[in-house]
Symmetry: C2
Subunit: 363 residues, 2 copies
Amino acid sequence: MMYAGRDTLEKLCADIFTALGLTPGEAEDSARILVTADARGIQSHGVARIRRYAGGIRQGSIRCGVEPVVLHETPLSFVLDAGGGMGLSLARRSMDRVIAIAEKNGFGVCGIRNSNHFGIAGFYAEMAARKDMIGIAMTNTAALGVPTHARKAMFGTNPIAFAAPASGGKLFSLDMATTAVTRGKIEVYQREGKKLPPFWAVDAEGRVPDDAARLLDGMLYQRGGGLLPLGGEGEMYGGHKGYGLAVMVDILTALCSGGIFGESVRDSEASSARVCHFFMAMRIDLFRPPDDFRRDMDRMLGELSSLESADGSGRVWYAGQKEQDAEERSAREGVPLTEEVWETLKKTAEELGVPFPPPLPAC
Amino acid sequence: MMYAGRDTLEKLCADIFTALGLTPGEAEDSARILVTADARGIQSHGVARIRRYAGGIRQGSIRCGVEPVVLHETPLSFVLDAGGGMGLSLARRSMDRVIAIAEKNGFGVCGIRNSNHFGIAGFYAEMAARKDMIGIAMTNTAALGVPTHARKAMFGTNPIAFAAPASGGKLFSLDMATTAVTRGKIEVYQREGKKLPPFWAVDAEGRVPDDAARLLDGMLYQRGGGLLPLGGEGEMYGGHKGYGLAVMVDILTALCSGGIFGESVRDSEASSARVCHFFMAMRIDLFRPPDDFRRDMDRMLGELSSLESADGSGRVWYAGQKEQDAEERSAREGVPLTEEVWETLKKTAEELGVPFPPPLPAC
């Protein structure tokens, strides 16, 4: 593992994105959000993805410098067609605008269609939570998830992010796929040659697969099968609830913005996923003074994180706590990157003629 | 199974509630919501509960004719202290007011504290969906659910209801506990003498219990253990996501209204559960013309419900579809009630001197 200074890493990624053709603003936003993911220990959504974004930009499925078209506006809301622009930056700017609407009117919301992968959903929900608001962010994603009792993928991993503030910068921050696991988890099992556990996926014949490579292949070539919703197979353990949540995300993101949903959402480097986003901010003083709210949040989060663990050895966490701990550690020790990701960054920088900095020592 | 005419059944239940001391308005609301649950096949939340409500009213934990106190108001929101009043009726009236706010301003929201059991959450979310809005309803409930890696109940079954309209009165209507199952399901296994499956619950020692009676006893006397969140035990199958959703419900219901949350929420006939609710309505034309939205909803729900099932024999449903089918069947054939529930109604009516009607034949 290498440890890079956060500023250095952000600068490097922004330089790479600028060299690829993004505007300086788009490049800075994108770099910041990817590095934030790594700083929080969410490597699946961090700078390791830079080659995928680069591929999208080179092939034109992610378009640089696109100004979104405003399709609809009210005093509380707006709807955008993103025109296949850079999802990370567009999402950051849109949440800024949602927050500004909520600052003025108490509540703000937006729907965005025809966008691209926006990274960690929690980043945007937390932007609102840091302004004494409740923040929500969702996106639909390429169809990999199979409805309860079916065997065909009809929705994405469709994450829900929800954030609310406690005191001293602490947050409750939930950021969860509505499928039992993400494709990334299946890929890890493939790399490690491990058999898949039950409740994660279903194959084209409606059976539980244990071969990760075969499942990934089936999903890639749309032969049927895919990821199970949160709660697993059938209704016995609540799989129909995860399925319902995934469809709820499709409704709020795609049906509200007039974008594509369900099996039409297909991801590849060659074509834009054209995913849809939903952002919402709700001022806490719609309900009560934020100080009172935060005091109760402190008590709640304190109670949860001081619970005795079932096996006496572990810990009980609240949503977002591990990531906040990791982010503090990254500020002290540098952002952790595998050597493989570091080499990817180096190679990408060299291809583009971007000066490659040496890794910073752990500070 | 008996089949009762819906109007007759509602009249009987309203008469019982009036005889117990509720105002005519409270009694009618309460009767309508309970009978709706039975008409939809959700017997766990139907008229079978009338003796529990009667017990609460008689012991004073549910107070009759209480006017809620307005704690806070803005152009988009209000917060109420329900004063231990009848949750069913208060919830119906509050959602009416949230909808009126949204009709005027595009968005309405409310938090309610110190209330009582409000029946099926979906009833309130659907009220908004029938007005070309997206509706959300949540409530916290007595602490029965155990956080991931813990062994002590710290949140309720905390349901989330979300509804959005398609054409012709059809709705997508999700109404789900955020625990893997509800206590009612454990009680069914106890009655039938069946062993509990894994992923539903954890006992006071942090182990998976198979004895339903022992688990219920432990939950009742707060000896530790309880229901697992949606996604089951640990993080392998996403249990931390269900846990996160349950806490999200506590935040929106109790933290927003200044009510009680977590392990403080305790249910018994002798004392009010003092639960908290959250209602939200968001006009669809914040985003786009409702006709366009409904057309896309028709397509989505049509695609989902016409999917081939995995085993070739079953069906694929969308959330709320089974309940809507059942409600149509009840309109034709009468509302199905077990003989046991019918006897309970008869006994309750006789105790209160309420005229008991004969059962209607299936029509």
